[in-house]
Amino acid sequence: MTQVVRAAPRVLFTPLPDGGVLLDLETKVYFTLNATGAELWSQLARGPSDRVALAAHLERAFDVTAERARADVDQWLVELLREGLLVESAG
């Protein structure tokens, strides 16, 4: 079963040059995203996704290898899920 992730509804994204900032309106935690993270968040803002689709998007958007894209997405997902900025569910 595929794990689907979506943006937590209480989180707002503010774009900034070279990335952006996520703010959790409940905990007041804010989290800085680099350009890669901001691209991934923008993708999730369009709708729920999974690690395979996110890695494929990163591979196309930044012209990186599939291996590198998967590693970046995995690390990003771990960090944002830990902070409660993403919500995970069975797809």
Binding site: T14, P15, P17, V21, K28, T32
Partner: protein
């Protein structure tokens, strides 16, 4: 029922002074004069005695001291023991049973939230304009906002926006900052650095004893009606020589975010728009952290030399 049109409003036997502590009358006048789109609602502001309050269902979405904010069908209501403020896009109704800190906080919060409905966002910052560009000095009380603003105003072509509160929004697509008019408040230490200024009465600003300076008297003909934000300054008191350090947009955004956290609450209207404005400020301005050393008080002109140079780099 009465609508404040000057510095004081009378409600039954109660007189509310909106001019100095809250700044509501001047601020409302300022808001009504702001550029607005054709679709922006007209705002009316009414003050009335506190009457019966219908209980509200639903969770508290924000707390401001003893005040609690809950969503209503058309907006928000802020309730305290002696205060009830209803905020809707076209109408703010302030019910009070007394006049004190609780009512002033409620009115200030209501004003900030009502301004959001008009596309203007309150930022806790001083502002000084020079040649159409604004230097916004942001920080908590005691950080040195007024000291920096007064130092910048030493330049003969500088004009004042505010020493504590501004609103930021877009007019014809361009980011713009407008000051909320109120008296400046300076500590005795700051005043000693600007001997030409004349201060009036003493007031308490949180833990700080401050003297009141009327900018209309101290800087006649030099009130700015608005400017394009160019430089964000985040002052702090230091022990070494005064110096400015450049901040990244992300660092500047984080510093703008901290004092705004109370008003960025899920369920509170305009939070997303408020973040967009803070993000635009951080992205479009040059930002510096300013360590204020003892030399800033002994030679305040070094602040103008330093900070105007930062602004000139944006040209």
């Amino acid at each position: 029922m009465t609508e404040p049109s000057s510095g004081r409003s009378r409600v039954a036997t109660l007189t509310i002074d909106w001019s100095d502590e809250v700044g509501c009358a001047g601020a409302l006048d300022c808001l009504q004069r702001l550029p607005r789109s054709a679709s922006a609602p007209q705002l009316t502001w009414r003050v009335r005695p506190l009457g019966e309050r219908a209980p509200l269902e639903g969770p508290v979405v924000a707390r401001f001291g003893a005040l609690e904010a809950r969503a209503t069908d058309h907006g928000l209501r802020i309730d305290g023991p002696e205060t009830s403020v209803s905020i809707e896009p076209r109408h703010v109704s302030v019910g009070v049973a007394a006049c004190g800190r609780e009512q002033r906080v409620a009115a200030a919060v209501a004003l900030a939230l009502a301004a959001r409905a008009h596309g203007w966002h309150h930022v806790h910052a001083a502002g000084v304009e020079r040649r159409g560009r604004a230097w916004m000095i942001a920080g908590a009380s005691g950080a040195g906002k007024t000291t920096v603003a007064l130092a910048l105003l030493a330049a003969p072509d500088a004009r004042w926006l505010s020493d504590d509160a501004v609103v930021v929004g877009r007019a014809e697509g361009e980011l713009r900052v407008v000051g909320l008019p109120r008296a400046f408040h300076a500590t005795a230490t700051t005043l000693a650095s600007f001997p030409a200024l004349r201060a009036a009465e003493t007031v308490w600003d949180g833990p700080f004893e401050k003297r009141v300076i009327d900018p209309l008297v101290s800087f006649p003909g030099r009130q700015s009606l608005g400017a394009r934000p160019a430089v964000l300054v985040f002052p702090g008191i230091g022990a070494g020589p005064t110096r400015a350090r450049r901040l990244s947009p992300a660092d500047a955004f984080a510093r703008l975010l901290e004092p705004a956290a109370l008003s960025l609450v899920q369920g509170l209207p305009g939070s997303a728009g408020h973040l967009q404005v803070l993000g635009a400020l951080a992205s479009e301005c040059r930002s510096v952290a300013l360590d204020l050393g003892p030399d800033a008080l002994s030679t305040p002109q070094i602040l103008g030399d330093t900070l105007f140079d930062v602004g000139d780099e944006t040209v």
